[in-house]
Amino acid sequence: MHACIDCHKGLEEERLSRPVKKIANDYHMVRGLKCQDCHGGDHTAFDNKEASHSRAKGFLGKPKRQDIPAFCGKCHSDPRYMRKFNPKIRTDQVKEYYTSVHGKKLREGDKNVAVCISCHDVHAIRAIKDEAAWTYPIKVAETCTRCHADAKYMKAYKIPTDQLKNYKKSIHYEVLTKKGDISAPTCPSCHGNHGATPPGVDSVANVCSNCHAATAELFAKSAHEEAFSDLGQPACVTCHGNHDVLKPSDELLAGGKDTPCATCHEVNSSELKKANEIRTHLQDLAKGIDRAEAILTRAEHAGMEVGPPRFELIEAKDALIKARAETHLVKVKRIKTLTDPAVVIAEKTVKKGQELMVQLQFRRKWLAASLLGIAAVLVGLFFKIREVDRRGGSG
């Protein structure tokens, strides 16, 4: 029995009864906290609004929007209090929040920016590992774009509102939502969460390199690193985009006028010829692997054992992945040292697949021959049985 819940659940005004319905899913309630732990007041004063809402009893009521970070921070910024629930939990969220664009604008008096409850909900706050939480990796993009994709809401800020639309085209979104890999990047991965700020031109490569470390290291050693820096172009984003990072294809190196290379390099320049050469090596290897896979699959479906050649093909596939990463260093020779041996492996695998298909035909021919032999024996037996039966053997 709890005076706050008891009273509020019966109230006609929906905004006053709504919290009671929502707290059934609240993580604070699960950890043993109740209304008074956030809002103060006397939770034992049944049917007595004055007593239950008494300021003397610490009643805070509904906090003003600009006070919400401090309201939540009352507990969440207190390490001594929070370590009772989770010794490892961070307690710098409010401090971090005020470094963000949201926090700075809130201090300037802008009440439209996100505060704690904008992302975490209120009265139905779920643990971050809960799949229904607004901040769960698969759901967080929708949470951010509740504001950021609303053109009318964001009009005053003069920033794009097509991020979600673009993000949904990306390979990151596909891996996150279709393959269920929650380590795939979403909004906070690149922008931060409490201290949300878009990465600057000079720091976006650091963000991408948190996951794409090997590729970032190669890029850092390439001629592009200095060139991009001189031109004020962000690394990674210039070629791959930011929200709509598509699955890269070898066609990015084709050098046509719609490709990233053509942004800086002249068509038919030596640099674009180099890019095309790299593309040719990569595509030759990719085609070789595809041919090998196709013939092994045919052989497998026909019942042949393809385990060993498939295993050998893995080396060629690994080489292709490494070679594609090496494009960031833009050295043709290094890419060739990876693709050339791999092409040989792919060709050997194709040959093995062809041998398996020949073996299959051999098996079928011998099966036909042996079945003919067996049929001949059966015919012989049939006549022999008739003969012994006629001889009077069957009484």
Binding site: G307, L367, I374, L381, G393, G395
Partner: protein, 362 residues
């Protein structure tokens, strides 16, 4: 003739009168149920195929968790006709279980278990259990994903038997989990213990069949009061027909092995989760499916325990049927036991089909 001289030389040293009697005087009754007589011989023929192909496989197979899968892969890809021997061994095992089931139920429905053939039936039932154990133990030997998890599930069911279940599970697995130790003991069971038991019991079974001759179904026996039963000589008439069937089986095996070679699949990974829709080989599916339908608890009892006990009671019933069916022992019609047999066949057929067709069964 040279053959007669060889036979004469042997007869001076060994008494061949029993063999001569078998070849010259043994007869086989001819009636509308004679077709079922061939299934015992067919099962024996397929068993011989198993022994021959099994021996060939032992030349290359290595019974350890580290090498088993690779040795089978080597057999399939690098050994001349290794793929054929392995596929024939696997297909023949399945065909043998099928012909053995036909043999068992045809003997049951023609009441061939009645006096004086009770021991023949008992030895036959023991052979049935041995063949299923052959199938279960052999299935693990390639050490692939399906085999690993099928063995895990199957031995878990053994663990459910009251009182002795835990000890039985640890005995079968060689520990708490399915590991290389399980593989080694299943291999020993498959190539040494079971063949020895089969040799002894099969020898007794065949001796009894030869001693007592072929059973005639009761309705044919009753009709023979008016008209004597037709017969045919065992040799060469019945034997030639047997041979005909064996060559048909050989052709079917060759076709299956060449057109649908037995898959090897992926190597077992004990840390991976069981593939969705895992099920045992077809001859265990009816039991597996039954256990799926039994609720977790039935009154005060564990559902799985009840299921396993049910199968045990069913097996015991079949083993003891010659001693339970008093009417058949007296040569009288026994419709109750016939309908029980038909019921068992329908139950096995329906639940096997459900195992493949029911949702979640694919």
């Amino acid at each position: 003739m040279r053959v007669n001289r060889i036979i004469g030389w042997i007869e001076e040293r060994i008494d061949l009168s029993g063999v001569k009697h078998l070849l010259q005087e043994k007869v086989v009754p001819v009636h509308h149920h004679t077709i079922w007589y061939y299934f015992g011989g067919m099962t024996l023929f397929l068993f011989v195929i198993q022994v021959v192909t099994g021996i060939l496989l032992t030349f290359y197979y290595r019974p350890s968790a580290e090498e088993a899968y690779e040795s089978v892969q080597f057999l399939m890809t690098d050994v001349q006709f290794g793929w054929l021997v392995r596929s024939i061994h696997s297909w023949s095992a399945n065909l043998m279980v099928a012909t053995m089931m036909i043999h068992l139920f045809s003997v049951y429905l023609t009441q061939a278990y009645r006096k004086p053939r009770e021991l023949t039936w008992v030895t036959g039932m023991l052979l049935f259990g041995i063949v299923l154990t052959f199938g279960f133990s052999g299935y693990l030997l390639p050490w692939n994903v399906l085999a690993y998890f099928a063995t895990k599930v199957g031995t878990n069911v053994a663990g459910v038997v009251p009182i002795v279940g835990r000890a039985l599970l640890r005995f079968l697995r060689g520990g708490d989990d399915v590991t290389g130790a399980t593989l080694s003991r299943f291999y020993g069971l498959h190539i040494a213990i079971l063949p020895l038991l089969t040799t002894l019991i099969l020898g007794l079974h065949l001796f009894l069949v030869q001693q007592q001759g072929m059973s005639v179904p009761p309705d044919v026996e009753r009709a023979s009061a008016q008209q004597p039963i037709r017969t045919m000589p065992f040799a060469p008439n019945f034997l030639l027909r047997d041979l005909f069937g064996w060559f048909v089986a050989l052709g079917v095996l060759a076709a299956l092995a060449a057109i649908y070679p037995w898959e090897l699949g992926q190597k077992a990974d004990p840390f991976a989760s069981a593939p969705a829709g895992i099920r045992p080989e077809w001859y265990f599916v009816f039991m597996f499916q039954t256990l799926k339908y039994i609720p977790a608890r039935v009154g005060p009892f564990d559902g799985e325990v009840l299921g396993v006990m049910g199968f045990g009671i069913g097996g015991l019933f079949l083993l003891l049927v010659p001693f339970l069916d008093k009417r058949a022992a007296r040569g009288e019609p026994s419709p109750l036991f016939r309908w029980i047999g038909i019921g068992i066949i329908l139950y096995i057929a329906v639940f096997t089909a459900l195992g493949y067709l029911a949702p979640g069964g694919k």
